[in-house]
């Protein structure tokens, strides 16, 4: 093709001008491209005019100069409470053609799914546009943290070059992180006859100015004037001072009343993170009636807050008291990613290992509870390759945070988007290729029925459709770094932009708000009193009683509403309640297969499950009817545990217990010194079930051990007694 020179007035100084080849688009095939910086708007207009009304410029297109326009992404500082961070990407000058660049976030000390929601998208600058803001969701957790950061990166620019590719995004903690000193209380305990108890109040970092706070005691199970002298005093931390000790006088009595506790609180904090700091002091009863069974309460706590009694837990309860132990369990275990692509088998192994071995047992029970609450079934690889993140980043990170954070994380997870089909739900009549798409109600319905409000809440069939419409666009796309995975993506094009009225005016969307509509909806659902009651009831079924005491449901739901779904506070209300300690609830539940297998291992002081036994453990669970990560219905398994009882399951339990005990390594941890049959069985009971068993069970076990051949070794007799005791009806319950 002959080379055509541009009109004279388009002949720019050589430094600014490069004519390169031909245009890439169909319409530009036969035109030369002039790349030029378009600072000169007069020139731009002239060219447009020229191209429109004359033929002189028809052979050319103007394109941005190769070196000219530059893109940069700006640093940003966000506060946790802000909810949305707007990251700016700037183009140094207006261009005549579209400029695009890829944008993504990378977690650093701030964690994706916990502190913020990452994004990956392609940003397009329309001709003339120089500034784009990318909204990112910032999650407000309740943990005291240092300032955290993540980064935003732009790359793969088309039509401009990149001047600043990486921006630092800081999230400033508002819960009293290192930037702001925070006051804390250390839970204390003392024998009721100790005379005084010291409570330590400390500052997280030395403050640049004096910090004051009001310290006050209040009654819980212990009564001021009877068990202790109440106090209310102002504490003042001088500059640089970080600890203070408050001494509280105690009153001894002669009642066998069990351990009691009273509350300690800090109010009116000035100069440090604001709010109310709560703690408790446990008073240990020294008037033990030998008839009362503290071991029963200890085993109850270890079985409800964990997977059964074990040495470590018992020692902890001995030293901290029951309240102190519960308080110590209300912190999350560290989040350790397991492996890059953990699938069912590895996750099951990890779950069993943690159930058997973790010291933060409550965290493990809660991860189990919440995974089941937000059950996904491994229907395909999209769910499968998200499972590890699903359990770790979306569930585990949020067990003591706000419910809405977990709800939102789950709603955005590729696993849930795939399992309940929201990823493909679009506004009615959307044409994609030759296909006409529309709504899918699956997730919308289960979101209300199972995840939040409960089936009895007053939502209608129309509300199901409205929720589905609000959530259109919540979808996923291929992970740019790993084609086998998906990452969350809001698809504008899928979104239904019409007016919406949810639950009779509870949420009205008049004008399209895109993704924010779903965020609003999820927050409303998460904080709704029906959700508070429905989910609290389920938690109480798990932790207290399968026929939940209504007063406790009301108390937990109240905490939920007051704290906007702070799950640590809800758990504290449930676990610190009288109902939790009511002996009528001891042993009222049937252990799940996971609980049975883990508690049998723990009872025998078996530590880490070695690799050679992993498959055997997995098989034990499946034989007893529990295949983890393979529960098909969105309801998960019921919290009513008689579900696990059947003739087939009981045979499998006996078979499984026998297999565990007969492994030499597993039963090795049960150390007994011998003696006659009765002594041997008594000693073993004190190790595996310190709360005791019924006389009928014990005597049947003694009889069977006594019936063993004369040559039976101590280990054989121990093994026989263990098989029967761990197979006993008492051990099946908790």
């Amino acid at each position: 093709m002959p080379r055509i020179l541009p009109p004279r007035w388009l002949r720019l100084p050589a430094a600014d001008r490069r004519t390169i080849g031909h245009g890439q688009h169909e319409s530009d095939r036969n035109r030369s491209v002039i790349r030029t910086p378009l600072r000169n708007s007069r020139l731009l207009h002239a060219f447009k005019y020229c191209a429109l009304v004359t033929t002189a410029c028809a052979g050319f297109v103007l394109a941005p100069a190769l070196q000219a326009a530059e893109l940069s992404v700006k640093n940003y500082k966000a506060y946790e409470y802000q909810q949305t961070a707007r990251i700016t990407v700037e183009l140094s000058e207006a261009m005549t053609e579209k400029v695009s660049v890829h944008f993504s976030t990378q977690a650093d000390t701030a964690v994706n799914g916990k502190d913020f929601y990452g994004a990956y998208k392609v940003i397009e600058f329309a001709p003339g546009q120089t500034r784009k803001q990318i909204p990112l969701i910032i999650l407000n957790d309740t943990e005291v943290e240092t300032q955290e950061r993540f980064t935003a990166t732009i790359w793969n620019a088309d039509g401009a070059t990149i001047a600043k590719a990486v921006a630092n995004i800081a999230i400033v903690d508002d819960d009293g992180g290192t930037d702001v000193p925070a006051v804390s209380l250390r839970p204390a305990s003392a024998s009721e006859n100790a005379g005084t108890v010291d409570v330590e109040v400390s500052l997280s970092i030395a403050a640049p100015r004096a910090v004051t706070a009001l310290f006050a005691t209040s009654a819980a199970t212990a009564t001021p004037g009877k068990d202790f002298y109440g106090t209310s005093q102002k504490l003042r931390f001088a500059v640089g001072e970080t600890t203070k000790t408050v001494t509280i006088d105690l009153l001894d009595d002669d009642l066998d009343e069990g351990d009691e506790s009273f509350n300690i609180n800090l109010y009116e904090i000035v100069g440090a993170a604001p709010g109310v700091v709560a703690g408790a002091v446990t008073l240990k009863d020294d008037d033990n009636d030998p008839g009362t069974n503290d071991a029963a309460l200890t085993e109850h706590v270890l079985n409800r807050l964990g997977f059964g009694g074990a040495r470590y837990g018992r020692a902890q309860i001995d030293s901290l008291g029951v309240d102190g132990y519960i308080e110590s369990q209300l912190t999350r275990s560290p989040v350790i990613p397991l492996c890059d692509k953990c699938v069912e088998a590895e996750l099951t192994d990890a779950k069993i290992a943690r159930a058997v071995n973790s010291q933060r047992q409550l965290s493990e029970v809660l991860v189990d509870f919440w995974f089941n609450h937000f059950n996904v079934d491994t229907v395909n690889n999209i769910v499968r390759y998200d499972l590890g993140k699903y359990e770790t980043d979306y569930i585990r990170r949020n067990i003591f945070g706000k419910f809405e954070n977990m709800l939102i994380a789950v709603a955005r997870s590729p696993a849930m988007l795939e399992y309940l089909d929201n990823q493909s739900s679009t506004k009615e009549g959307l044409k994609i290729g030759s296909r006409v798409r529309g709504l899918n109600e699956n997730y919308a319905r289960e979101l209300m029925e199972l995840h939040t409000l409960g089936v009895d809440a007053p939502y209608t069939e129309d509300d199901v459709i409205t929720v589905a419409r609000i959530l259109t666009g919540w979808s996923y796309t291929r992970d740019p770094n790993d084609a086998s995975r998906r990452v969350y993506l809001f698809r504008d094009r899928y979104h239904d932009t019409d007016r919406k009225n949810f639950m009779n005016g509870t949420l009205i969307i008049d004008q399209n708000e895109g993704e924010q509509e779903g965020m609003k909806l999820l927050r409303i659902l998460a904080r709704h009193p029906r959700t508070a009651a429905f989910v609290s009831r389920k938690l109480i079924q798990r932790f207290v009683s399968e026929t939940p005491p209504e007063a406790l449901v009301a108390a937990a739901a109240d905490t939920w509403v007051q704290t906007q779904g702070n799950l640590r506070e809800v758990m504290r209300t449930i676990l610190m309640s009288d109902e939790f300690r009511d002996p009528a609830n001891f042993g009222s539940k049937i252990k799940s297969p996971l609980h049975l297998v883990a508690s049998a291992s723990r009872a025998m002081n078996f530590g880490a499950v070695p690799e050679r036994l992993e498959k055997a453990y997995r098989t034990l669970l499946i034989d007893q009817g529990q295949e983890l990560y393979k529960v098909a219905p969105p309801t998960g398994v019921p919290e009513v545990t008689k579900f696990w009882v059947s003739s087939a399951a009981m045979l499998a339990r006996f078979d499984g217990i026998k297999a565990l005990v007969e492994d030499d390594d597993i039963r090795r941890g049960v150390n007994i010194s011998g003696g006659d049959d009765n002594t041997l069985v008594t000693d073993i009971i004190s190790i595996v079930m310190p709360q005791g068993v019924s006389e009928a069970t014990k005597s049947a076990v003694v009889t069977q051990v006594a019936a063993m051949p004369d040559g039976a070794t101590l280990d054989q007799r121990k093994s026989e007694a263990l098989v029967l005791l761990l197979s006993s009806p008492e051990f099946m319950r908790h």
């Binding site: 089936v455 003739s647 009981m650 069970t697």
Partner: protein
């Protein structure tokens, strides 16, 4: 209430039908049981009736489902109006033609719940709309049968089927091979376990353990003499293989409950229905061949918790709806509900919006409790116990679908 269909009639009918020589004689010579057996198959997840028993003769069917309506090559004609999804028809047409298989369309629960768990609970309890029912309808049917051995009622799987929920222990099993292995492993502890699981002290656990041990020897010793090879990689087929063996050996099994999940087809319905349909119908076909003469006293009753939206959704699937279908399979369908699609009052209500439930869902014209009632009455001879088995439902024989 008069049983217009007595047990005597039932046996006579079976005998006639057997004499007609339509059945292959399976296995070796053995005493054949005479007690009727009910096998319930619960398709959990809400199966889409309209793409199983296809009303192709209704012009609105294709209009409402432009993307997923089955075309002529996707079903086999049944009666000039309905067609059977080809995946099902490939295995089941011979049984349909010999009148051993029949469908009831627009069947389901009068309750409008569209929650899987709630609607399943209602159907298992046999009392739609009532949350407080603590026992399942099959448990109550067993009680009505009188004192029975624990394996008179068997759930196939690891958990007790909800229809068997209740105080009377029933049995649960997955595979005989597993029972044999367990029996061997725990032989030495068996007596002591029975002793410490005294049901008087431990009602729930003791009941299950005693029912396990009472039936263990009988069940474990049923030999592997199934007369056909069941389809490969088909867990449902493997389960039906156990069911056939239980019935053929006549060890006293009266009611078996089995689940097949995976019917919640919100997306990509056609392909997913193919997978489920193949699993279900190839297994049913093998079961039919395997069970031989005992097919005459066996009734297999299929159900699902509700149907799905008449109109397809935006993802080539369907969402939760209302009316669905049920099916029966067994020798006693011949000359009655076999070989046809039964409709209440012989009327197809149509798929026009104004004829639907809430403008969106298939109506329920046959109450599932009337199907249960007919089966209990005519097949299980329990017509005298409706008061306890189907409380709150006034049974009128004129409402029977005429399945048997």
């Amino acid at each position: 209430m008069t049983n217009h269909y007595s047990r005597r009639n039932f046996i006579k009918k079976t005998a006639l039908w057997t004499a007609a020589g339509t059945l292959p004689v399976a296995g070796s010579a053995r005493a054949m049981g005479t007690d009727p057996v009910l096998v319930t198959v619960f398709l959990r997840g809400a199966a889409d009736a309209l793409n199983i028993v296809v009303p192709y003769g209704d012009g609105d069917y294709a209009l409402q489902r432009p993307g997923i309506a089955l075309k002529a090559d996707g079903y086999t004609n049944l009666d000039g109006f309905f067609g059977l999804n080809k995946v099902f028809a490939d295995h089941l047409m011979p049984m349909y033609q010999s009148q051993e298989l029949g469908f009831i369309h627009c069947a389901g629960s009068k309750d409008n719940s569209r929650s899987h768990f709630e609607a399943q609970d209602y159907m298992d309890a046999g009392t739609p709309g009532i949350r407080s029912t603590r026992t399942g309808w099959l448990q109550r049917a067993l009680t009505a049968l009188g004192p029975t051995i624990p394996h008179a009622g068997i759930s196939i799987g690891k958990q007790t089927n909800k229809a068997f929920a209740g105080p009377t222990p029933t049995n649960t099993m997955l595979r005989r091979t597993e029972l044999r292995k367990q029996r061997k492993n725990i032989a030495g502890d068996r007596d002591t376990l029975i002793e410490i699981y005294n049901p008087a002290s431990h009602p729930l656990l003791g009941g299950s353990v005693s029912s396990a041990f009472k039936s263990l020897d009988v069940l474990a010793e049923i030999p592997n003499d199934n007369s056909v090879v069941y389809p490969d990689k088909n867990s449902f087929g493997k389960s039906l293989r156990e069911v056939a063996a239980l019935i053929r050996r006549d060890v006293g099994v009266r009611i078996v409950a089995i689940n097949l999940g995976g019917w919640d087809h919100h997306t990509n319905l056609t392909a997913r229905m193919e997978g489920r349909g193949e699993m279900l119908s190839s297994a049913l076909k093998a079961f039919r061949q395997d069970i031989g003469e005992d097919f005459g006293r066996t009734l297999l009753l299929g159900m699902t918790e509700f149907g799905r939206t008449v109109k397809e959704n935006g993802n080539d699937g369907t969402d939760h709806g209302h009316g669905s279908m049920m099916f029966g399979m067994g020798g006693s369908l011949v000359g009655a509900g076999g070989g046809k699609v039964t409709l209440a009052n012989d009327e197809w209500i149509g798929l026009k919006k104004e004829r639907l439930n809430r403008d969106r869902y298939l109506q329920v014209t046959t109450d599932f409790r009337d199907v249960f009632a007919e089966v209990l009455d005519k097949h299980m001879n329990l017509g005298g116990s409706f008061g306890s088995i189907l409380p709150g439902h006034s049974v009128d024989t004129r409402n029977y679908p005429g399945l048997i």
